[in-house]
Symmetry: C2
């Protein structure tokens, strides 16, 4: 780890001391029916010009979760979302023998709430999962592990709450699932299954979109 994903904020410390513990946050979102991940363009060696998963050193007195929350907020301005520890890597770096580790987390965010950090150096950007560029270090492995976990989590938790606004239509929810699972789902089965879970509940509101029948809005229960 060490320098594998240090952004502008940490870039100064990088030369001063190699941190022993870093936190990486794989930030997913779904826009236009496409699963996307937030990546940072590295503006200094090593791996200058390559893209990497956002991350930085664990700061003094911070818990791992606090560091992940902070990192997520720095990059997206978002708090209070699905955020879960993923896996810890010791050899993400070009220099695996230095004893440093990277603790990877993954987060799910509603694109409507995101305000990306405005920088020209260490520029952040969304990348569609089926078009990610070459990544610095071994970040491809991290991303792959994150994607697998996301697919699993979706099956038996309400994690999707974190990818959608407070209310949403069944179609929107289904598109989120389809984008993550990478395959189309049957409308009737999807609706029945989701309502059976009690993750979501109907609201009394409808939304009129265009020249077609208005859609009922739903919300995740246990939130708001």
């Amino acid at each position: 780890m060490t320098t594998s994903s240090v952004d502008a904020a940490e870039a100064g410390q990088e030369a001063a001391r190699r941190p022993d513990v870093a936190v990486l946050v794989v930030i997913f979102t779904v826009v236009d029916s496409a699963l996307q991940v937030l990546l940072i363009e590295r503006s200094a060696p090593p791996a200058e010009g390559e893209w990497a998963i956002p991350g930085g050193a664990l700061q003094h007195g911070e818990s791992l979760e606090q560091a992940a929350v902070r990192k997520l907020a720095e990059e997206t301005g978002v708090t209070d979302v699905f955020l879960e520890q993923l896996y810890t890597f010791a050899d993400l770096d070009a220099s695996p023998a230095d004893g440093s580790v990277g603790v990877a987390w993954f987060a799910l965010v509603d694109p409507a709430r995101v305000r990306l950090a405005q920088r020209t150096a260490w520029r952040p950007g969304w990348w569609s999962l089926d078009a990610v560029p070459r990544l610095a270090f071994d970040n491809e492995r991290v991303l792959e592990v994150a994607r697998e976990r996301l697919i699993n989590k979706l099956q038996y938790t309400d994690a999707a709450y974190s990818l959608l606004p407070p209310t949403f239509t069944m179609r929107e929810l289904q598109q989120v699932y389809e984008a993550i699972l990478g395959r189309p789902l049957d409308k009737r089965n999807f609706r029945r299954r989701l309502l059976a879970t009690d993750f979501i509940a109907a609201t009394s509101e409808m939304r009129s979109d265009g020249r077609h029948r208005p859609a009922r809005l739903y919300r995740f229960v246990g939130r708001f």
Copy 2:
């Protein structure tokens, strides 16, 4: 973390330098139909006299997995078993603010293969899961996470291969499952389900135990 689970081998280093990264290994076995975990009695402060999950500092040039394998071998003499990363904790210690982390792993071992390290200080011992002593630091949390993962892994993987000798009877296999799940299972359903997974296959051998019909021996496939 830091000193939370350092055994005799690392005890000397403990005073010299607080390691930034430690590895813990939750080692499970099943003996006499009881799920047991290996614990180490701490022979020096902090938490002297309390029991803890075995662990130690990540050594120079070592990957996390190598450290876990080494730790497991030091304590049990066993290699080549189910060993999987569990979770990483930053605040296992009494002193959570020191920036050190503990990467927890969990392992499953066949009791017949184990040769416990013979020490009087930092003495290792097996404890039944429903009778563990008070643990040092926050090791109870680690143990609880490990047990949950073990229960899950059992459902959809062949992890149990690591708890049994190369061949075994259906009854022995079922007892392992029952010990871990903590409830009795139906003999017919168990047999049918396990054979359906293709994790195990019948051998041509039988074992005669006592004054009753001999039992067929099975083996895990994809091992040996």
